[in-house]
Symmetry: C2
Subunit: 343 residues, 2 copies
DNA sequence: CCTTTAATTTTACGCGCGTAAAATTTTTAT
DNA sequence: ATAAAAATTTTACGCGCGTAAAATTAAAGG
């Protein structure tokens, strides 16, 4: 080809026979230029496949189309899955999602917030670490950048919170287990990283009191994000000490349950609701792998799709609203009980 | 505070008592300014916590410190895990990793490459989709941007490839299974998305021929990235048709194996190497969950750490080398057999 | 202590684009 | 057809920073 090299929007406008600002308008919103102009630009686009410099664009734009998505630990399939859906929604809406992983560490989270601040994003979807978060850093960030919290609520930071209703999760599993057998004991980490874990514990206690049954806990040690291994080790110890006396266990979350099921298999403890079984196990989250445990895990499912939709919808409200919402909103979605073979 | 508001580097340089370009040098490389100058900047930094505009910085920089990391499907824990390690290595080295997920789709991958091109990254670490990739798009991209391919090799694109040695994976599992029992049949998808799957099949055939045993395949239908479910459905069908005759199965990858184990449990097929077992199952990848299947999965492990280190080291060579490497390199890491209870 | 050389800082300019306001063209109403 | 209104395009300027080259300062050598 003997086409002249297109180095910037100026060059591209020249070959399109238009002025640069007109082309600029087109890239900001193709509908904002006349149809005939749009056609000319798109024709030139085919021929030269020019793309605006992303940095120069964002530098001066009042509002970039960037959206930050921050999760505490991306190697957790639960977050990988929810992020997968959210990211797609953003792209469909013409936004540019940027994905950040806090790696379970306070310092990473702080660095990410600083990076995001300098990216001047249209909005940020933040699932905070929880207990480990630097609350004052997050509070300061939320004042500067329009932020929607999801998964874990943190004080009243951000313009909105979208998550699942932990009480709904627990009430359904406890009710089901009790109705079809006996009230469960609660299997959880001693010092959970995530505020949802605390809410689930409280909901468990509340449910048990309503049923007039003494709440019973198996609390295991451990830190970090290797919940399956923590659950497995804790369960091995508990099994050896016959701590699950009752015969029905409700795990705080599916990852612990996966470890527990692995320990049961290793110890020859039969899990399920059959008469020949030793233990019933249920849990919360509907982790992507809970379908494939042995036996398949009975669990309370997040409405991944509804949560993702609401998170992105809230973000749009923030963006369109200009200055943000009038007041902070909290939206919680109920769980759906998924009965499988483990309980 | 009555401090003047710092709006840009000019302001910040003023309160530091320096010129803006000196401050600019500092941010590019703190060691490039005199110690006394550095001290003054850092003192001012404490007081005003200014951060340079990331877009303006990258716009003019010959080489940004951005690194693109692209994986075909982030909700696959295998990729989540390897990305987790790579990302940390990059941060430790002072680079800014940006994570992209191709969502298993050709169009996403193309869009990501376009976005990356406009980000003028110092380098890109690309795990391509494989069969679904738009080869010419990737080829063109690799010519413009210094790229290290990992996980899946694709023709001779990019400046280097880093991955695992599929033959090493398969030879160890086949050898082990054969030595401790009998030669396995091979469980795989009919039309795998990933070139590694093809290499594993060829390695299996080669190993079997060397052992003078007829290769035997169970090939299952399915498309997409829900490998566990595909494996489960395929295994249910195969079990019902007693297609695993031999009693020893080698799965192309752990995710299929997870589905297979789930199917075995459902059908009451006992998996393991004990005399009371019906089937031995082994696989490849050492997926983060393979430790927690029931029974725990015998598998060939990637050397995640070595691969990650090498990927990042290769990237550094590219960056430091300025124009890149003299010639394309390929580095393959051998697998490590992990004996667990499934075989 | 003075000159030469090296290290550092400043001057001066440009990057690629957004955007308000001015100029132009197109559409609508008369 | 023509004036008024609306839509669109162009002019003109600035954003925040990188960087080559010039100017300055510090270090080295005699």
């Amino acid at each position: 080809m003997t086409e002249p090299k297109i180095r910037n929007m100026e060059d591209f406008a020249a070959v399109s026979g238009l002025s640069r600002p007109t082309v600029s308008k087109y890239f900001h919103d193709p509908a904002s230029v006349r149809a005939s102009t749009r056609a000319r630009i798109e024709a030139a686009l085919e021929q030269y496949d020019y793309r605006p410099n992303i940095f120069a664009m964002n530098q001066n734009r009042k509002l970039t189309k960037n959206v930050g998505i921050v999760v505490p630990y991306l190697a957790d399939p639960f977050f990988a899955e929810i992020v997968r859906v959210i990211e797609r929604r953003c792209v469909e809406a013409g936004l540019s999602p940027f994905l950040f992983n806090s790696h379970g560490e306070r310092d990473y989270e702080i660095d990410i917030l600083n990076t995001l601040r300098s990216m001047k994003p249209a909005g940020v979807l933040l699932a905070p670490l929880g207990r480990q978060s630097d609350k004052s850093a997050i509070e300061a960030f939320c004042k500067d950048v329009r932020t929607v919290l999801f998964d874990s609520n943190l004080d009243d930071f951000g313009q909105a919170f979208v998550g699942s209703d932990n009480r709904s999760f627990v009430s359904q599993t406890v009710e089901y287990l009790t109705r079809t057998g006996e009230a469960p004991c609660f299997f959880e980490m001693e010092t959970p990283a995530n505020p949802n874990a605390n809410k689930r514990r409280l909901a468990y206690i509340e449910m048990m009191e309503r049923l007039n049954v003494e709440p019973k806990f198996v609390r295991i040690k451990g830190s970090g994000w290797a919940f399956e291994e923590i659950g497995r080790q804790g369960a091995l110890k508990a099994l050896d000490e016959t701590a699950f006396g009752a015969g029905t266990v409700l795990c705080s979350n599916d990852r612990l349950a996966i470890g527990l099921l692995s320990a049961c298999f290793e110890r020859g403890v039969r899990v399920g609701r059959g008469t020949d079984c030793d233990l019933r196990v249920a849990s919360h989250d509907d982790h992507p792998f809970s379908r494939f445990t042995c036996p398949a895990l009975t669990t309370s499912a997040h409405d991944y799709s509804a949560v993702s939709d609401e998170v992105v919808a809230t973000l749009f409200k923030l963006i369109d609203g200009g200055g943000g919402l009038e007041r902070r909103t909290e939206k919680l979605f109920p769980a759906r009980l998924i009965m499988r073979d483990s309980a």
